[in-house]
């Protein structure tokens, strides 16, 4: 490892950009956009260096470790494993996309907007690279509030309701998690005599069953709300519908992944016994989420809401894959997270392209757009198919692996899940048909002449996602290799675990 603090650079470059923005006149839009883009790009470029992660080397690489609050054993520890590497790359890339896309549509309080977006980046990236539970919690909360502002200031008509709901849901979960973190730390401290928040020290420690069960519930709430998992998902459609397009991209693309990441990084290795014992419940909820999300998506009249509910279904796959505890399931879960981030981010971006022109997202108001906007339709089609899980595109690999993992767990679970894959084809294709093929609605005819196909800026924002969705679909090797070691560790951690005191739950 060279002396350059790479991870700090990735995390805090956006913060430096935000700080610089404070001193730029609020009306100088060009400079503001340029600084925001440069800061995000710089962070992205730094993160590319992570591709050099040595899959045969130490678990956590690019480590940084500095004392912070020594009285309580809190340290500034950062490091990445394969899982964090892919998520950091996803985050920096999607942030750049969101910032580029925002150039056109965001016209009010431009400076505040980019400051918020950059701070959001800091929080999200920090969560992925922290190896100290206190540091992790700080970043976790930092990632929450910028999104609160993004929805609340630049959102749609019911933005305040949506954003308050979003914050309060998330805050309840995360505050309970804070108590759980402290309880775990203190239990570990009382046993060993040293108080530490270090992730590496705390995991794999045999905590008492009661503590594990309670801490699991608290961690579960925090992460499940973020994922969001049925029945804690109700904030998501509201937040998505009201959020500006770039907000939706980040929300679907990265923020939901914080929840999935939390489960894989914290719940399973820290509390393996409780995880194993509670797994049947969580698998049950995941299956419900997969099914419920798909069914509800079918009847959504609003494009964004449809994609939001489809996220509930897709993230259900992630949870299912995570809690069947085998190699395929876990790899599928992680792959599904990446793929969902790319496809859903792109879909929200594309919905935004249309919304900027018509200020409407009613599916019933559309129709026949293929004739007017062929290139736009092609792109929308590409990501629709990716979302359905067409082989050759990114969505397929994740879902396939998860179902494979689920089969090893229970044939029934896998069977239900496979049926839902058909449902997802139904709602996505039906939506695509109503928007792009049928006869244009009367409402759309009034806008017909003013419609334009994708602009250069929109192409620019979308381009990396197009490349990724295909690349991830045909050549999953590198990503799978990156995540295989973390997955093995998780499988190892939960292997043979279980709470003795509680016995089988059924």
């Amino acid at each position: 490892m060279d002396g350059f603090p790479l991870l700090s650079a990735i995390v805090f470059t956006p913060a430096v950009g935000a700080l610089l923005l404070l001193f730029v006149p609020a009306t100088n839009y060009r400079a503001i956009r340029a600084i925001a883009l440069i800061a995000a790009l710089a962070s992205f470029v730094f993160s590319l260096r992570l591709i050099g992660y040595d899959t045969g080397g130490a678990e956590f690489q690019f480590r940084e470790d500095l004392p912070w609050i020594e009285a309580f054993g809190m340290r500034y520890t950062m490091g990445v494993d394969g899982l964090a590497v892919v998520l950091v790359l996803l985050t920096t890339l999607l942030s750049v996309v969101a910032i580029v896309y925002s150039f056109e549509p965001i016209k009010t309080r431009v400076k505040a907007y980019y400051i918020t977006m950059l701070l959001l980046m800091v929080g999200m990236l920090g969560v992925f690279v922290s190896l100290d539970l206190f540091l992790f919690y700080v970043f976790w909360e930092i990632s929450l509030f910028p999104m609160y502002f993004v929805i609340g200031i630049w959102g749609g008509p019911r933005r305040i309701y949506a954003t308050v709901k979003f914050v309060v849901y998330t805050l309840v979960g995360s505050l309970l998690m804070l108590v759980a973190i402290l309880a775990v730390v203190i239990a570990h401290g009382n046993e060993t005599g040293t108080i530490t928040f270090s992730y590496e020290a705390l995991r794999g420690f045999g905590y008492a069953d009661t503590l594990q069960a309670l801490a699991f519930v608290a961690f579960f709430l925090a992460f499940a709300i973020k994922v969001p998992m049925f029945p804690l998902h109700t904030w998501l459609p509201d937040a998505h519908v009201e959020a500006p397009t770039a907000g939706s991209i980040i929300l679907a693309g990265v923020l939901l992944k914080l929840g999935g990441f939390g489960f894989l990084r914290y719940n399973l290795p820290l509390l393996p016994d409780a995880s194993v014992t509670f797994a049947p419940i969580i698998i049950g909820l995941s299956v419900i989420a997969i099914l419920y999300g798909a069914l509800v998506s079918m009847v959504q009249p609003d494009l964004k809401k449809l994609i939001a509910y489809s996220s509930v279904s897709h993230m259900g796959f992630v949870m299912l894959g995570a809690f069947v505890f085998n190699q395929q399931g876990l790899q599928g879960a992680i792959y599904q997270m990446i793929s969902h981030g790319v496809t859903t981010g792109a879909l929200f971006l594309l919905v935004g392209v249309l919304y900027e022109q018509t200020h409407d997202r009613e599916i019933a108001h559309m129709g026949g757009l293929n004739a007017r906007l062929p290139r736009y339709a092609a792109m929308f089609g590409l990501f629709t198919f990716a979302s359905i899980g067409l082989p050759g595109l990114s969505g397929f690999i994740g879902e396939f692996l998860v179902i494979l993992g689920a089969f090893q767990y229970n044939g029934l679970v896998a069977g239900i899940t496979m049926v839902v894959v058909i449902f997802s084809a139904v709602y996505m294709l039906w939506m695509f048909q109503r928007v792009f093929f049928t006869v244009p609605s009367d409402w759309m005819r009034t806008h017909w002449s003013s419609l334009r196909d994708m602009s250069r800026g929109e192409w620019l924002a979308l381009a990396p996602l197009i490349v990724l969705v295909v690349a991830l679909g045909v050549y999953p090797g590198p990503v799978l290799e990156l995540i295989s070691a973390p997955v093995e560790r998780i499988v190892e951690a939960v292997n043979g675990a279980g709470m003795t005191g509680f016995g089988p739950l059924w």
Binding site: Y148, I160, V167, L171, L178, V179
Partner: protein, 486 residues
């Protein structure tokens, strides 16, 4: 030269007392347009007193026949007192000037109250304790009613005075019972006398002391004076009232309950737990319904009292000395952090009251972000800190209390605290919603942009963030301070 040595230990108090005299005399000879000099005199004096705190740090001596103790705990309280004093002195002048409230009187009464707080923190005898308490609260009554031509100020002052004296009397009655039972008023001797023996009479004494003490910190159900007193008082003074006398009262609780009655902690723990839960929950629920930010902050200050009390409960329930010390440390840290953020929050409300017809309603905050991004940003940071969001001092203070509670085996209390914090997020974030997500009023409230207040606000916000990111800077001091008790 024993007397002289003893005097040195009183250096901060002596400087403050001298400062009172200097302010009165300077005020006499200053022409009206030079009155602002008084603020500088006050601040300079306070800084000097702060420096004196460094001198008396690490002395740990009981002086004046056991009536007065200069231990590190008291010095920490004194230093915090002086921080409170400096911020109060900086924030108030422009608000007072608009309302023609005499500046000299304000500074002089403020510093007197600070002396009371210092005496309270240093008392090792219940008589000194009561003396300090009165020296603190009498000026507080005056400050509340300082806006003589304002009915609400008068009402607040009068209510505070009547109920406050009543509570002081109850407290004094408790002191009398203690004296009757133990034959002493000295804290250390009381602790020795009550060791392990609980009696019905002692329970009565504890009851009186609890009622009197919790009235002063405004714990539920003895909080009814708070909203009216806080709302009636001139706004920057409300900031002081919410931090200063509260700090003094917690010093009192620590001296009485964590020192004199420490051997009986198992007996007073139950009542404290009930009061703690009641206080934070009622404070938050009622704050939720307020549409006036000043009154909302008043109720929220009750909720914060509850969080601080949790630290005392942790002290009482702790299994070992380390955990008990952590309870006290969490109280100290919370009081310090709370003082900085709350005084500043009230100050922002005051800045929006440049127009004397404004009373700090939520609507004054409408669209503040587009009118004055810096002040709105500062207020947003303060609100997030009061909610307990990292990386701010409010977060670390709450974390400290949670840590102490869990360490002391009160994990359920920690859960109640965080649920309360989530509840509090509703009303703190409402202010942010009004500032950032609503359009300004057609005729927005004029803003007070005096440089003095702006600098103090900037200092507060820097303090809030700096202490949140690097709390380690004071943790060492806290440890030493809390150790004085053990």
């Amino acid at each position: 030269m024993d007397l002289l040595d003893d005097l040195v230990t009183l250096l901060p108090e002596l400087i403050l007392a001298a400062l009172v005299l200097v302010i009165i005399t300077t005020d006499l000879f200053l022409a009206r347009r030079y009155k602002s000099v008084l603020t500088w005199v006050t601040v300079a004096g306070l800084v000097l007193a702060g420096a004196a705190c460094v001198v008396v740090w690490n002395i740990n001596e009981t002086v004046y026949e056991g009536f007065y103790v200069v231990d590190d705990l008291s010095v920490f309280f004194k230093a915090t007192t002086i921080v409170i004093g400096i911020f109060s002195a900086l924030f108030a002048p422009s608000y007072l000037a608009v309302r023609r409230i005499p500046l000299g009187e304000f500074h002089m009464i403020l510093v007197s109250a600070l002396i009371g707080m210092c005496v309270l923190a240093s008392s090792s005898d219940l008589i000194t304790l009561f003396l300090g308490l009165e020296l603190m609260t009498m000026p507080s009554y005056l400050l509340t009613g300082l806006h003589k031509t304002d009915r609400y100020s008068n009402e607040g002052g009068l209510k505070y005075f009547l109920l406050g004296s009543f509570a002081s009397a109850i407290l004094l009655f408790g002191v009398a019972w203690i004296y009757g039972l133990t034959g002493t008023t000295n804290v250390a001797e009381i602790a020795a006398a009550v060791d392990g023996t609980m009696s019905g009479a002692l329970l009565v004494a504890i009851g009186f002391l609890t009622v009197g003490g919790t009235f002063k910190i405004a714990a539920v159900p003895f909080h009814y004076w708070t909203p009216d007193a806080y709302q009636g008082a001139p706004t920057p003074i409300t900031g002081f009232l919410s931090a200063g006398p509260k700090l003094g009262a917690f010093a009192l609780l620590i001296r009485v309950f964590a020192d004199a009655l420490a051997p009986l902690r198992a007996d007073w723990l139950a009542i404290f737990l009930v009061l703690t839960v009641l206080t934070m929950t009622v404070g938050n629920v009622v704050a939720l319904t307020q549409v006036n930010v000043k009154r909302m902050l008043a109720y929220s200050s009750i909720a914060h009292t509850g969080y601080i009390m949790a630290g005392l409960a942790a002290f009482a329930n702790a299994g070992d000395e380390g955990a008990a010390a952590q309870g006290i440390e969490s109280v100290l840290f919370y009081v310090l952090g709370y003082a900085i953020m709350n005084i500043a929050a009230f100050a922002v409300v005051a800045m929006l009251q440049r127009d004397t017809g404004r009373f700090g309603g939520l609507n004054s905050f409408r669209g503040l972000a587009s009118r004055d991004p810096w002040r709105a940003g500062a207020m947003a940071v303060l609100m997030l800190s009061l909610t307990g969001i990292p990386p701010t001092v409010g977060f670390f203070a709450k974390l400290y209390v949670l840590l102490a509670s869990i360490e002391a085996g009160l994990a359920w209390l920690a859960v109640i605290i965080v649920l309360n914090a989530a509840l509090a997020a509703f009303y703190y974030l409402r202010v942010i919603v009004y500032m950032y997500m609503r359009d300004p009023e057609p005729e927005p409230a004029p803003l007070d942009t005096s440089p003095l207040g702006s600098v103090a606000l900037a200092l507060s916000v820097i303090g809030v963030i700096a202490l949140g990111v690097f709390p380690g800077a004071v943790l060492g001091l806290l440890e030493v301070s809390a150790a004085s008790l053990f």
